[in-house]
Structures are given as C-alpha cells and as structure tokens.
Symmetry: C2
Subunit: 190 residues, 2 copies
DNA sequence: CGGAATCTTGAAAGTGTTCAAATCAAGTGG
DNA sequence: CCACTTGATTTGAACACTTTCAAGATTCCG
C-alpha cells in the first residue's frame, strides 16, 4: 500500500512499520481520472500532493489567456503551491491530472499533526524541500546559460520518457516557448 | 550575539536559551571584507551560509565568459549551492561578498551533528527550505508572465533598496539581461 | 464518420542582444 | 588633492532569436 510513498521516505529517513501505520492515519488517498483538478485558480491550496502513480501539471492563465505550465509531477514527486499552502493565500494556479492518477494528499492540518506525532518526518520533508531547492537552482541556471532552442533540445534529450508521455504543446508551455517554435525546432533536428 | 540568526530561528520554532547555547557550538562565524569568496567554481560547497550582516552574490561564468548572477543574499537569508553541499559535487558557482559581511557557516558535518542534537532545527530548516521553494515558485511564475522589460521594472520598484545597494550591471545579470538594455530601460523611464 | 484538439508552415513583426566606441565615475598612489 | 587608471554606464546601428498571425494538415476520440 502506497509503496512508492513509503520507499521514497525510506530513502531519506528510517521509519519503522509502526510509524508507517501511524503515518497512514494522516493521508487522504485520491484516485483521479484524466483531467481532474486538485486545485483551481482563486482557491487556497489545501493540501500537498504526492504522486503515487500518474502525472500532474500545474499552470496558470496569463494575460493573453494562455495556459502557462510551471511544473509537472511524475511518480514520487510532490506538488503544491507552497505559498498558498503555508500562508493560506488564494492561489493563481490550477493543478490538474494529465493521466489517470493515484495521489496521496496531506491537508495543512493533517500535515501539521503528522509532523508533531512523527518528528522524523520533519527530517524527511527538510531533505525533500532542500532537494527541491537544489533542483530549482539547477533549472534556474539552465535558463541563464541556454537559449530557448538549447533549452528545448536539452530537455527533450534529458527526459525522452516525458516527451512520450505528455503532448508537445504542454512541453512548449513548460519551457516557455510557443508550440509553433517547438514545431520548427523539431523539423530542424530531423 | 548573532541576533539576526537567533531571531530568525525564533520566528519559526521555539528554541530556549539552553538550546541556543548548544547551537553556537556548531557555528563557524566569519568576518569578511568586500569581494571575498566563500566558494569558487570547481570546489565543493562545504557549508551553508547565513548572512548575519552584509550581502552575498552567487554567480557562474558562462560560455562567453560573462559572470551570470543567479542569487543574492541579504541579511537573514541563507546561501549555498545545495546540490554541491548535499551530494559533495564540485560546484559551478562562485559565492562572493558584495559588501563587508558577517556570515555564519555550518559545514556539512556540523550541520548534520547540529540537526541530530537539536531536532527542532530540522523543523526550522524544513520551514526555511519550504519557503525557499515557495519563493522560487513565485520568481519562476514571473519569468513566465513578464517580458524582460516588465521584469526589470517590477524588480526595481519592488526592491528599491536593492537597486541602491548593488551596481546596475549586477542587477542586469541577475535579471538575465544585458547592461546595455538596462541602460536603455532606465532612459525610457525618465 | 465527424468534430475537436493538436501539430505544422511561412511570412511579418518585435523584443532584446551584440559590437564598438564614447562618456562618466571612482579608487589609488604620488 | 590632483592625475591616472580602471571599472561602470550610456549610445546607436545592425543583427538574431523567438513570437505572432493566419491557414492548412493531421491526429485522436467518441
């Protein structure tokens, strides 16, 4: 049960079976179909979400009414609008399933209660968050040193499984370029 | 002593005076002049750094030999190359003082030992890292929705104290635009 | 099969960069 | 305190990368 989640935790902290049982009390499991929403613009991001199976995207609507995708989450990734989640602010984002997905949710209050009962989980989340910071430092560095063309080529060779799994126009949006330009770049590469 | 640091911790967790005394054992305080380095390209980022007073920048040298600034840190901010710090990988970055600064450093080993002795600090760092993730989500959103011109105007009106404190060309670098273009934008605004 | 969503094409327009050179500011040593 | 040297900012013209717009071709799904 929730094997991806448990194995992810055990990568970073020791957690005995008894603690795992306690942990389960705080989880809200969700089974979602394709194109269902976990969060919509204007709502407060009530939970942080762990992708046990499937795929999520986070996006907002820009002033030209385009969907701008800012994050994806595959198996064993966390997803949340952390500002909204921590400070109870309305979120500008949508979080939506791209595929049929199994999600584990911690509401803000269950998250707090869980951390109080299982302090090892503070360590787990400290490490997870620190790794998220590291990942965003790296991604950020790429945006400084690569042109959009290079960024696209780099992404599609680094994550070919991703390019298989999600439509081109979503990748274009995530990389901050137009679907037309992606189309041009693909042609160029052949 | 280290009052900015202690008050920052106490914003997020309760820490009694006894624990503060224990905490001090793990800190390496550094007094640095302007333009001194905490990290250079190729080295492993040995410590994470808290800015008690002063100002740091982090940058790397791109393929055209420009210094590309990816982060600043003012008082009560943390600074590190987290990938290098956590996984002992050589860093592509330089970390350098912009002004005379007082820095508190935790080496990787003192950081670990401190967290083991003072588990409340796991909570503190979990919160700090989570807020760092939130901040990078926000900054990232800006890069999707603003042109470089808007990004510059937004930054310089949001952080006027910053524009005072650091040279234009560093702000240009941080925002990912050329000093020439910044110059043009400033002219435009008058 | 029909309709909607996705992907491709090509031309025109912008936004921001590059290059080269001039001007301005600032710190150092005499 | 001035002269000198280096660092920082400004200018303008030419260029490059990426977007926009408008259609057309294709794929997918019920």
């Amino acid at each position: 049960m929730y094997s991806n989640f448990i194995s992810h935790i055990r990568k970073y902290v020791d957690l005995d079976d008894n603690s795992v049982a306690l942990l389960f009390k705080y989880i809200t499991p969700l089974k979602l179909k394709r194109k269902e929403f976990l969060l919509k613009e204007g709502q407060i991001c009530q939970s942080i979400y762990f992708v046990e199976k499937g795929c999520l995207r986070m996006y907002f609507i820009d002033d030209k009414l385009n969907e701008q995708i800012t994050q994806f989450a595959l198996e064993h990734w966390w997803m949340a609008d952390h500002f909204s989640f921590m400070d109870n602010k309305p979120s500008p984002y949508f979080i939506e399933t791209i595929e049929k997905s199994e999600i584990l949710a911690f509401t803000a209050s269950s998250f707090e209660a869980m951390l109080r009962e299982l302090p090892q989980m503070e360590r787990y989340f400290r490490i997870v968050m620190q790794r998220a910071v590291a990942a965003s430092q790296l991604r950020n560095k790429y945006t400084y040193e690569m042109s959009k063309e290079e960024f696209y080529q780099h992404f599609s060779t680094s994550f070919p499984e991703f390019v298989q799994r999600v439509p081109q126009y979503m990748i274009a949006s995530y990389l901050g370029l137009t679907p037309q330009y992606v189309s041009e770049l693909r042609k160029k590469k052949l």
